[in-house]
Symmetry: C2
Subunit: 344 residues, 2 copies
């Protein structure tokens, strides 16, 4: 078994551990800043962690109404801009905690008076030393180059942070996530058969929206780095503003279609893609969406939309890991990549 597959399977336990060990600390943190509420939240990350940040952006804006900006590290590292971040909460997200660019942004933010948080899997990392607060992902060491358990670990920290900033509402729901993750893992035998069909797929598009937009990016990056599939990623709205022109018969589309606010739009897009003769693969619990799809990854039970991102990315992680195997590739050591990428 590849390290990637083994680490995918560890997710329910890693999530459970992270909730148990960090929940109270995150609640206390929210209480400590209740009097001086941030005017702005800035998230800074690279790679898969940046996809987690994209989820954090939607979740935090939706649950708190505080505007969120995804930092452009180059503004700090290349252009050396002194940003006005004194009323901001600046959150660095990094598996290793050693990304130089992310740490430079955190350092600048701290100097300009911002309150800083590190979300990392490495308690003794440079980022953890640097930040005012550290929330740890208790995922254990991640050995596969392709991040899986640290991505969902970052997501669950954002779930808790959003709950905490929202007057500590919603913690009970977050505690359901390890069980929901375990249910998604049961799709593995189905996916193992299904990937055979895609052994010679060279390109595809992945579409998600709202709270599952980040998952589209994350599924695409997994397909690119472990299967060398050229995977475009879009929100359903952006996809209609141009790139849908690319879709042809041999260009399958993977869609995240959870119940909730984005479902109708995804069904409309599925209708359009069917008219174009495109093959579609839908990740959903909803019959209305599944019946429009060429192939399905059916989530066992209907989950409240805000909790879907973790249980919905797991079938996609399994798909990438098993497709890599079907293609005769090792997902653990992609060519041209190292576990810790140091960019500035």
């Amino acid at each position: 078994m590849s390290l990637m597959l083994a680490e995918i399977q560890q997710q329910p336990m890693a999530l459970e551990r992270t909730i148990r060990r960090e929940g109270k600390r995150i609640k206390r943190f929210a209480e400590s800043i209740a009097k001086r509420r941030p005017q702005l939240i800035v998230l800074v990350a690279r790679g898969s962690s940046d996809n987690a940040a994209l989820f954090g952006r939607y979740l935090l804006e939706i649950s708190t109404g505080i505007p969120v900006s995804l930092a452009a590290p180059g503004v700090h590292t290349l252009y050396h801009t002194k940003m006005r971040l004194q009323d901001a909460l600046v959150v660095g997200i990094s598996q290793s905690g050693e990304g130089p660019d992310v740490n430079i942004v955190l350092e600048n933010a701290k100097q300009s008076g911002a309150h800083t948080i590190a979300i990392t899997n490495a308690a003794d990392s440079a980022m953890a030393q640097l930040a005012d607060e550290t929330f740890l992902i208790h995922a254990g060491r991640e050995r596969s180059v392709a991040a899986t358990k640290t991505y969902t670990g970052q997501l669950v920290i954002f779930h808790m942070l959003a709950a905490a900033l929202n007057g500590n509402q919603g913690f009970a729901e977050v505690e359901r996530l390890p069980e929901l993750a375990a249910q998604s893992l049961e799709l593995r035998p189905h996916i193992e058969t299904m990937v055979e069909r895609y052994a010679y797929m060279n390109q595809c598009v992945v579409v998600g929206r709202g709270l599952n937009y980040a998952n589209a990016y994350e599924f695409a990056i997994k397909l690119m780095e472990t299967c060398y599939v050229v995977a475009e990623r879009f929100s359903s709205a952006d996809f209609l503003h141009g790139p849908i022109a690319m879709v042809e018969r041999d260009f399958p589309a993977f869609l995240f279609a959870p119940p909730g606010k984005t479902l109708q739009g995804m069904q409309d897009l599925l209708g359009k893609l069917n008219k174009l003769g495109a093959e579609t693969v839908v990740i959903s619990s909803e019959k209305a969406a599944l019946k429009l799809a060429s192939r399905t990854l059916q989530i066992p039970s209907r989950i409240e939309e805000s909790l879907t991102p973790i249980p919905y990315i797991i079938p996609a992680q399994l798909f990438a890991a098993l497709l890599a195997k079907a293609k005769g590739l090792s997902p653990d050591s992609p060519r041209s990549l190292a576990k810790v990428t140091k960019t500035v």
Copy 2:
């Protein structure tokens, strides 16, 4: 000649007109808000206008230090979040001014006390009616579905807005842009020959960083919608965090390598791509970068980095329009697309 090509050629005049007619109004606007400086700038757009917003994000942060957030329209249109935007300057960018989602965000922002600006090509559009201020792109009607002269028109408005918010410094430089745009148009005969090589290209990657990161997105969307080429777009830093694993011999990389802060990183990436045996096409005035490339789009003169985005996107626009022609396609009416895409 396609409408797209004709409109590409109109850019020097359109830019000149926009600078002449809007410059003073933008200066006055900046003076009027000098006492109540925004704490945050939020940009909201879709499609090519969203690429222009990505440029605006870098330019405004670098020149003013005010944090900028690219709005996620779905937070407003799908999740109906009441955002705290009272101290923000919220800028809608839309060619037609009729995108329902962009206008909903502007309306919500106005209700929550934000100051709102419209950047549009349509003086009598819904967006222009709605916003507190309107800065017009004087591009004339854009008839091609593929936006070109309105993209650079949006860029020049951002140049002026950044200069205005920066104490009205830098207006004289902006006035050089029409001439620099005209110089780039002289590359047309070279590009006309060059595109023959790419008549059967199906996929590629486009890389830019910092102030030219938006151009990577814009070039990619043009290749997708007019040539049906699967074009991935990345910053050079993000590209190294995973997707570089995809690159193979038949997967050319197009790189924006202007002089300035991003040049060294682009040269490093070119070195890596050469080792992987990838074909590279470099848009640059700089010999050090051009000599590392398989093919070149040489910008005639060295331009200060902050002014490069408009003269550097023009060869890319020409490339897309002429490649479409070489592929026997009409760039003016891509399949599945209408000029005004209405998403919510």
